[in-house]
């Protein structure tokens, strides 16, 4: 039997598929970060905490109101998005005239607060959230058993990523957004309500984080630290893709999922650090990121 470095091809195929599934989370999360950075010039450190809040929102909807997975998939991102809009209006909007650094620090503080509060009220063990009945079970693909839910995760993330990309790059609204990124004053002069657009963009970006949180809830345990572990990795994804590049964030998200998947087979110990090694190399060779425009 043909083997690659001692690993049979069907195992490799399975691992690549799993990498793609993880990449789906990276893609949706880094997409949100990239949208926010592109328009607001803010590095949203609270993204991980809001992802966690999305998962908790789904859990709370179920637990307190009896609202199941499918409605939660829409409602939880709306809740997180609305919360994000409040944050943007009350705090972030005061920082636009300042260095990026302050946005980063403010959202870092917000992340600490959100995480700390959830820890206080819900403990750390995590809360159970079941896979919806429609998607339980799975299919045997021959080389691996693919749970239906994981297949759904990939499909949902591709759909959301493509939709977002299409909206920003191909529609009139997206054109305004991109124009406002380049020159907010000029766009404002054309009668576009730029502050409103910025507010909604931030809301949309964090709603994506909330959406990823709901997607994650049934497969990872819903716990207050779930975002903390992810945020640094997602940062790296955005930087590698090129800050603010929508396409870059999406493609890099999936790609790094795959690379991480391969590392897990050949050098599992290194799978937590491989992304940072890639980030360092990319920044050295092509500082604007793989898909970014040179500054």
């Amino acid at each position: 039997m043909f083997e690659l470095l001692g690993v049979p091809p069907q195992v490799l195929l399975g691992q690549l598929l799993l990498g793609l599934i993880n990449g789906s989370f990276y893609a949706v999360l880094s997409l949100g970060l990239a949208v926010i950075f592109g328009l607001l010039n803010i590095i949203n450190f609270a993204h991980g905490a809001l992802y966690m809040a999305g998962a908790f929102a789904a859990w709370m909807l179920l637990h307190y109101l009896g609202i199941g997975y499918w409605p939660a998939l829409i409602l939880a991102p709306l809740i997180v998005g609305a919360f994000g809009i409040v944050l943007e209006r009350t705090m972030l909007s005061r920082l636009y005239h300042l260095d990026h650094l302050y946005g980063l620090l403010l959202t870092f503080g917000l992340a600490l607060i959100i995480q700390g509060l959830f820890r206080n009220y819900y403990g750390i063990s995590g809360l159970p959230y079941q896979i919806p009945d429609l998607l339980s079970g799975g299919h045997n693909l021959g080389f691996m058993f693919l749970p239906n839910y994981r297949a759904w995760v990939v499909a949902a993330s591709v759909l959301v990523c493509f939709g977002t990309w299409f909206m920003i790059e191909k529609t009139r609204l997206g054109a305004y957004l991109r124009a406002a990124t380049e020159n907010p004053i000029l766009v404002g002069a054309f009668g576009v309500n730029v502050p409103l657009m910025i507010m909604l963009t931030y809301g949309f970006g964090v709603a994506l984080a909330g959406f990823a949180g709901v997607l994650a809830a049934p497969i990872y345990s819903v716990n207050p630290t779930m975002g903390e572990q992810l945020i640094i990795v997602v940062f790296a994804v955005v930087v590698i893709g090129g800050m603010g590049s929508i396409m870059g964030a999406i493609v890099t998200g999936y790609m790094l999922g795959l690379i991480e998947g391969l590392t897990r087979v050949f050098y599992p110990e290194g799978s937590a650090v491989v992304i940072f090694v890639i980030m360092a190399i990319v920044l050295m060779i092509k500082p604007e990121g793989l898909f970014g425009r040179p500054a």
């Binding site: 750390i124 063990s125 995590g126 058993f145 716990n223 087979v265 110990e269």
Partner: protein
């Protein structure tokens, strides 16, 4: 200044030999554990509640003892833990430190405890080093250790037909020691290790590693990790149909709170070893009900161990007549024999290892389970001598 005054007044009391002071034994206990991190639910405030219940049940006040309890959060960081321990001994006059989950913190605190002649009664940490490589005359390791868990789960599952093992090991010292202990037991019981993988810690997604385990053809997948990592691994094993396909999961460090978080649906059939379960007999049920009324959750073995260890410590202090000399109190504990409602008969060995029975449990299926906390079937009990590693001669402090 305040410190000097305190020293003066102590000296004054000693010189005058005040009779009031001679009668009352003052004891200060510090519960040092994780109150916000991954071990907060299995130790945390619950351990403080357990310690308070011990003081109450010991009827310390009636016996002329004045017991005070303070607590702090070590955040699972050895530097923070050792800082608090030092300050407790130096400034606050703490006599004994209780609980201390997280091995790295426990080892740091054990050192300081010896230096300051205090007492460490550890319930939460798992490292066997506490009574072996880093044994100290002032350490008592009460509830469990990784070797006992490995013996319970490893031996029982191998004998039950799980001959081929695959390990998912959290890639840090604790995970490796858990893995090593279990491999020894598995091989001694006639099993073999068909593969293992080191998983970076902490991890959320185990699917890739589980797939490697599945491909190995092992009978048992040993999880040498803890807390949220184990929860996620088990959850995903069920999702990928691994448990349904007949491979068994062995959680080598898992607590009732973790099973509760997972739910019986996902955790059913899982084997694990614990020193205590609330629903074992009338005594444990009665005590656990009191605990539940105060704390709102059933006790873990760590919290029960804090109760049991505190009772034993107070008995030894009463016998010695003072809590000041930690070494003497621990030496006394090693001479005594304890019998408490939660752990049954307990003795403390020369190296500080508390010896008591351990139990192998299996998680009930949802239709067997009659309530949120009705989670375990007891499979067998393991005697203390079987469960724990034999004592090292150089650690037998009763012979020094």
């Amino acid at each position: 200044m305040i410190r000097k005054l305190a020293i003066c007044s102590v000296a004054w009391a000693a010189m005058t030999g005040s009779p009031a002071l001679a009668q009352e034994i003052a004891v200060k206990l510090g519960v040092l554990n994780d109150r916000s991190g991954i071990y907060a639910d299995l130790s945390g405030e619950g351990s403080v509640v357990a310690a308070r219940m011990a003081v109450e049940d010991f009827k310390a006040a009636d016996k002329g003892m004045k017991v005070e309890i303070i607590s702090a959060d070590h955040q699972n960081k050895p530097d923070i833990g050792s800082n608090i321990a030092r300050q407790w001994y130096d400034v606050d006059g703490v006599n004994a430190i209780l609980d201390v989950p997280t091995s790295s913190v426990a080892l740091a605190v054990a050192d300081i405890t010896t230096e300051k002649n205090g007492v460490l009664i550890d319930s939460g940490a798992g490292s066997t080093s506490l009574t072996r490589e880093q044994c100290r005359p002032t350490t008592v390791h009460w509830t469990y250790d990784t070797a006992a868990l490995a013996t319970g789960t490893g031996a029982a599952m191998t004998k039950a037909g799980g001959k081929k093992w695959f390990f998912l090991t959290a890639d840090y010292a604790f995970g490796h020691s858990l893995e090593e202990n279990t491999i020894r037991v598995v091989e001694n019981s006639g099993g073999e290790v068909v593969g293992k993988v080191n998983v970076p810690f902490p991890a959320q997604d185990f699917s890739s590693f589980l797939l490697q385990a599945q491909g190995s053809g092992a009978d048992v997948i040993g999880l040498a990790n803890a807390g949220g990592d184990t929860v996620n691994a088990i959850k995903q094993a069920s999702e990928f149909g691994i448990t349904q396909a007949g491979q068994k999961m062995a959680a080598l460090l898992f607590f009732v709170t973790d099973v509760h978080a997972l739910g019986a649906e996902t955790a059913q059939g899982l084997s694990l070893t614990e020193a205590f379960y609330w629903d074992q007999n009338d005594d444990t049920r009665a005590w656990s009900k009191r605990f539940m009324d105060i704390h709102g959750a059933q006790p873990t073995m760590v919290q029960a161990g804090v109760y049991s260890g505190t009772m034993a410590y107070l008995a030894a202090v009463e016998a010695v007549g003072s809590a000041d000399d930690g070494k003497a109190v621990v030496a006394k504990m090693k001479e005594m024999e304890f019998n408490d409602p939660l752990f049954g008969k307990v003795t403390v060995r020369g190296d500080g290892r508390a010896i008591h029975d351990m139990y192998l449990f299996e998680v009930k299926s949802p239709d067997q389970s009659e309530g949120e906390w009705d989670l375990y079937n007891q499979i067998s009990s393991i005697t203390g001598d079987e469960a724990f590693l034999p004592m090292l001669d150089e650690c037998d402090f009763t012979k020094m």
